[in-house]
């Protein structure tokens, strides 16, 4: 039983490592509650239904990107028949990018922080507020 301190010590280290994410999040003050999003003022609808945007906006953005940049497809007809300019900067961020904060639009950032993802869109696309 001379190994007892070693075994116990190892177990403690193991437990500390396994539960590290819990401690880390507790210390960083993150919570498991979903983020509260402030919807763009004066806008009632998006280019696609909310449920679709929640799960697949990234795919839609990639399709827009490939369409506008590579195939010169600059107009998007939405599910409700409305047409939109295919542009992250000038369509999406026109509504969602107005509440500026460091790095990325507030609307986008809250969810991205919650999901722990850091998309690089804002390295180039501007979300400065417009008057």
């Amino acid at each position: 039983m001379r190994d007892r301190p070693l075994i116990l010590g190892g177990l403690i280290v193991f437990l500390a490592l396994v539960t590290f994410p819990v401690w880390y999040n507790a210390a960083a003050g993150t919570s498991s509650r979903p983020p509260q999003l402030k919807l763009p003022a004066g806008q009632k609808e998006c280019v696609a239904p909310v449920a679709f945007m929640k799960t697949s906006h990234m795919q839609l953005l990639i399709d827009w990107r490939e369409g506008a940049v590579r195939n010169n497809v600059r107009t998007f007809t939405a599910y409700n028949g409305k047409t939109y300019n295919v542009s992250l900067t000038n369509t999406c961020l026109d509504c969602h990018g107005v509440q500026a904060r460091a790095g990325q639009a507030d609307f986008c950032g809250r969810c991205h922080d919650y999901a722990g993802v850091t998309p690089k869109c804002w390295n180039c696309h501007n979300d400065r507020p417009r008057n």
Partner: protein, 250 residues
């Protein structure tokens, strides 16, 4: 409706709309059934040189495209700029051209070659030639290998050696900036052409009318008439790249 179906339907309708819009923009030229388009530029250097020290085209281009002003020459980014005659047309110089054109710079930009070496070498298709002749850049895909810069015989490409944003005095929010590590160049204002507008440099040169832009595939366009009626030069024609920027010298 599945996501795939949803995107499919919207994609098709978008393509139709885009085509319709393009056609309406250039309805004046050619028959309705998608006429061939080959964008080109003619630069009347006599008109350009008349207004000494003018940099309207450069300023306009660099403003709408968020091209940074970087003091360090090594890290410079330029889409349109000016070169002395000897540098712009190295094969055309004589012992006297330097004197003749002393202090008279010539505007140079991406030639949107018909046979672009930059496109040939790009390992990811981040730069490619569109059917209407525009040599495009996809800043999302560029890996920053700079092979295109080695391939371009005109020095038309710039690389973002550093983050460009701190070097922008003001940002035009309608056009994205670039991120460090990608190559950029003139795109003949693809985003403005899509809206039916002339390139920003051409727009800026409205008074001098030294820059003429149009469809070379349309025999009645201004550019077509000019290249047929005037003697024009292209930069380094012997390389077989077929530049689509023409210069009227005399």
């Amino acid at each position: 409706m599945t996501r795939k179906g949803f995107l499919g339907v919207t994609g098709i309708s978008a393509a139709v709309l885009a085509a319709r819009k393009l056609r309406s923009v250039f309805a004046a030229s050619g028959p309705a059934a998608s006429p061939p388009v080959r964008w080109a530029m003619v630069i009347d250097t006599q008109k350009c040189l008349k207004k000494a020290g003018c940099i309207d085209c450069i300023a306009a281009c660099h403003k709408v495209h968020n091209v940074p002003e970087i003091k360090d020459r090594a890290h410079e980014i330029k889409w349109v700029w000016k070169e002395p005659f000897k540098q712009a047309f190295p094969a055309q110089e004589t012992a006297y051209t330097e004197e003749a054109y002393k202090g008279k710079p010539f505007p140079v930009l991406c030639n949107h070659c018909d046979n672009p070496p930059c496109v040939r070498v790009c390992p990811t298709k981040a730069t490619w030639k569109r059917e209407d002749g525009l040599v495009m850049m996809d800043w999302h895909r560029c890996i920053g290998c700079r092979y295109c810069m080695a391939a371009c015989p005109y020095g038309s490409r710039s690389f973002n050696w550093v983050d460009p944003r701190p070097h922008l005095r003001r940002i035009d929010i309608e056009f994205p900036t670039r991120t460090k590590g990608v190559v950029e160049k003139c795109t003949f204002c693809a985003e403005r052409l899509a809206r039916g507008q002339a390139p920003a440099c051409v727009q800026a040169c409205k008074e001098q009318k030294a820059l003429v832009f149009g469809n070379l595939a349309d025999p009645d366009s201004d550019v077509s008439r000019l290249v047929r009626s005037r003697f024009t030069l292209r930069r380094k024609p012997g390389l077989g790249t077929n530049p689509e920027v023409y210069y009227i010298i005399g």
